[in-house]
Amino acid sequence: MNAGAPVLEVRDLTKSYGGVRAVDGVSFDVAAGELLALIGPNGAGKSTCFNIVNGQLRPDAGAVRLGGRVITGLPPRRIAALGVGRTFQVAAVFGSMTAAQNVQTALAAARGGTFDLWRPARRLGREQALDLLAQTGMAAQADRPASTLAYGDVKRLELAMALAGEPRLLLMDEPTAGMAGTERREMIALVQALTRARGLAVLFTEHSMDVVFGHADRVIVLARGRLIANGGVDEVRRDPLVREVYLGGAPTEARP
């Protein structure tokens, strides 16, 4: 694979709710091995962008290309099969299963085994599921019901499930929301390590600026649906427009 070629190309995405332009002409790329942070105040349109890229929402205009192929308008399951894994802002896992079964179910889906009506699922993909859980620091929780996990562990489990599809592109909507300071840094360091090892392209949103400026390779900034900055960490940090957006009614942690 050509190292610098973008895995994800987003072009002129637009999506309105009623009169509100949630996303307004947004374009950006993510390259393999790159950790791209998408930041912006509440309601800037970050989750909407994610939902369009993963197929949950259909844009009013614009295109999404994955490895050069147009995927706009495909349903989420097709986009998942093409190599896009995601986690949700409000973590979602399968509450009636253990952590390992959650990952096994995701593995079966990724391998096209969903319609296997006969073989017992208990052992199918178990080794690999345990391996993924170990990689996300969940080895000790593998056989606990997902509904009893602490919120931080649910987020890790979701990451393991997203990785089960062997994605090229990982979308993480606020991977550290609801976590304490150290746990946050651990989580993002984990993501960083995993992506380096696998050459993954990662797009993530984050409200905690120390996480963003400490770990992202590049930062793009959304405000009211428009892309107002795109560049290296230092460049964006110094950008007067970004400072203005964040200083006007910004949460304290927004200041780097």
């Binding site: 949950q56 399951r77 179910t105 699922a121």
Partner: protein, 628 residues
């Protein structure tokens, strides 16, 4: 067919649409505020009709014919509204926090109780109402005579629509209703008396339905089947119009009623040399309208999509694999059931009862498969039982197919029905799913009821006796036991296979499942089809076991029996529905021989279960266990 007969039927259709609209509007208003789908709404309509046909003749000698007629309608409407208020205060108030399924079951229990109360008070015969004084004539229009009362009813629908519109837009009460429909927390936060609002809304909804029934008195006789047929129609209307939209309900009611009227007007037409009696196709037409709307607009004409929930509010328990002790118990139970024919020599009745239990077990287990792991509580599972039974009966008697082939044809019929209807149903969630499954079951029932040449109509089909070696009680019983065990085994394998996990994944969080590459709708569809197929096997066995099949055996009541069996046994375990089916069959057998009012009794049992264990039987037992 001529233009004037078309016009005649069009007016007729509008008159029917008004009645349908009144029921659907009440249903919609109540759902909007309380989030409860009132299964007893058709019963309010029926009560309005019965009260009116009784009150109008009773009042007339005192206050004159016209005043008696309209006064009867008014009093009937108010009485039903009052009953609605009472029901809300005594029953529903305890259920607002209960699981959806329990709310549906409780209001269905109410339907059963009201139905038997009407049977007790008015008897089983149809009752004809008086004609409307002053409106019993006809109007000449384009040389055709249109009944005045139909014209009046055709106008009554839009009038009520306008009245409701003004009520909702112009009054404080209406503003509260709209506020509560949009955001329930806000109403509580504003310090509004919620209890009073809910009671008033329920009274309003019930009263509107009662009015709809009372107005029909000059058009159709009061009869005991109306509650369910109106409920099924109202569900179709609400699903087509979009839940929560009053104008949508009117438009849908007109659409459905006019399509039916058009079929009637077309009469017998020639298509490719065959004569088709279109008036027989009214129900199929209703189905086609609904199907078309749902394909083009899955949330109905004026409905808005509900945002998908990321995860379920509460985590469902996992189905437990069988332990060593469980396996031993199952083996013992199977051995006992296999030995039943031996004791049959001493207790002649035992094999009959055991056969009923075995069939019920397969029926309940197939329902449980989509209800538990699938999270889809079907209120129309009887449809596939019926398709299986009728398919087998038709093949055995009319086609003269050998027993195993007839059995297979029954299963095939059910499989086709479940595949077709399932495609639509699995796209909906929660109460919408419940309503659509019930509507489809009602359509199957009506087709069976009306298509006399094939199904024997209301009498059903007789002489569905199996051939050797199944003509012996023991032969049939053992075959049924084998089929049921095979079905249970299949379900068990599927639940613990990747497919079963994918099914639960879609239930637990459909967003997560889709994002992981699971085609949730297709998984649900296959599960629905599989459940319908197994249910069809139970139905086919039933037809051979009884030697006959009639519409009554496949009515909505059977769907509800299935739900009660599953709930009695507990949703979380795969053995639950089997135990529930056994217990329910025993209970039914004991009670049914004692009383004519079995349905009211069943209703009372359901209400007791729901009120005593509002978080589910399993939850109740767990809480009792924790308290100790």
């Amino acid at each position: 067919m001529s233009l004037d007969s078309l016009l005649f039927q069009a007016v007729n259709g509008l008159a029917s649409a008004s009645g349908l609209f009144l029921v659907a509007a009440g249903l919609s208003i109540i759902f909007g505020v309380t989030r409860i789908v009132n299964m007893a709404h058709g019963s309010f309509y029926m009560l309005g009709l019965y009260l009116a046909v009784t009150l109008a003749p009773a009042l007339s000698p005192w206050i004159g014919g016209a005043a008696g007629f309209w006064g009867g309608i008014l009093v009937a409407t108010l009485a039903v509204a009052l009953l609605g208020a009472l029901v809300e205060m005594v029953l529903l108030r305890r259920l607002y926090r209960a699981p959806e399924l329990y709310q549906l079951l409780a209001t269905f229990a109410l339907l059963l109780v009201i139905s038997d109360a009407v049977l007790f008070l008015w008897g089983p015969e149809d009752i004809l109402g008086p004609r409307a004084p002053g409106l019993s004539g006809a109007v000449d229009l384009l040389g055709r005579r249109l009944p005045q009362y139909d014209l009046f009813l055709a106008l009554a629908g839009p009038a009520v629509l306008l009245g409701l519109h003004l009520l909702l837009r112009r009054t404080r009460f209406g503003r509260l209703i709209r506020a509560a429909t949009q955001d329930r927390e806000m109403v509580a936060a504003l310090g509004i008396n919620e209890a009073l609002l809910f009671t008033a809304v329920f009274a309003l909804g019930a009263g509107v339905a009662g009015l709809g029934g009372a107005l029909q008195m000059a058009r159709e006789p009061a009869n005991l089947a109306i509650d369910l047929s109106v409920l099924g129609d109202a569900f179709v209307v609400v699903v087509v119009g979009g839940m929560g939209s009053i104008s949508g309900a009117y438009l849908a009611a007109v659409l459905v009623a006019e399509v039916k009227a058009l079929c009637t007007a077309l009469g017998v037409v020639d298509i490719a040399g065959y004569a088709f009696n279109m008036s027989r196709l009214t129900l199929v037409a209703e189905f086609l309208v609904m199907a078309l709307v749902l394909i083009l607009r899955p949330h109905g004409l004026f409905g808005r999509p509900q945002p998908p929930a990321t995860t379920r509010a509460r985590a469902e328990p996992a189905p437990a694999p069988l332990g060593r002790r469980g396996a031993v118990l199952v083996l013992v139970a199977v051995a006992l059931f296999a030995a039943v024919p031996l004791i049959g020599q001493f207790f002649a009745y035992a094999p009959v009862l055991a056969l009923d239990m075995v069939i019920a077990a397969l029926f309940a287990a197939s329902l449980h498969f989509i209800m538990g792991p699938g999270g889809m509580a079907s209120f129309g599972h009887a449809a596939y039982f019926g398709l299986g039974a009728y398919g087998a009966a038709f093949a055995a008697t009319r086609l003269g197919a050998p027993t195993p082939l007839a059995f297979a044809m029954g299963i095939g019929t059910a499989a086709m029905g479940a595949t077709l209807f399932g495609w639509f149903c699995v796209r909906l969630e929660g109460v919408y799913f419940a309503m659509l499954t019930l509507a489809f079951a009602q359509i199957v029932w009506s087709i069976v009821y009306q298509w006399e040449e094939v199904t024997g109509g209301s009498n059903g089909m007789f002489g569905v006796w199996p051939q050797a070696p199944f003509d012996e009680p023991a032969g049939l019983y053992l075959a049924a036991l084998a089929v049921t065990l095979a079905g249970l085994f299949l379900i068990r394998r599927v639940v613990f296979a990747p497919f079963g996990f994918a099914l639960r994944a879609g239930r637990d969080s459909s967003l997560r499942a889709e994002a992981s590459g699971i085609p949730v709708a297709r998984v649900r569809w296959l599960a629905f089809a599989l459940a319908g197929t197994l249910c069809g096997a139970a139905g086919a066995l039933f037809a051979f076991a009884k030697g006959s099949i009639s519409p009554e055996a496949i009515s909505v009541g059977r769907s509800i029996d299935g739900l009660v069996m599953v709930l009695l046994g507990g949703v979380q375990s795969l053995m639950g529905p089997v135990l529930g089916a056994g217990g329910f069959t025993l209970l039914q057998d004991m009670v049914m021989r004692e009383t004519d009012y079995w349905r009211a009794l069943l209703g009372a049992v359901i209400l007791a279960v729901v009120l005593l264990f509002p978080s589910g039987i399993a939850g109740g037992l767990r809480r009792a266990g924790n308290a100790r």
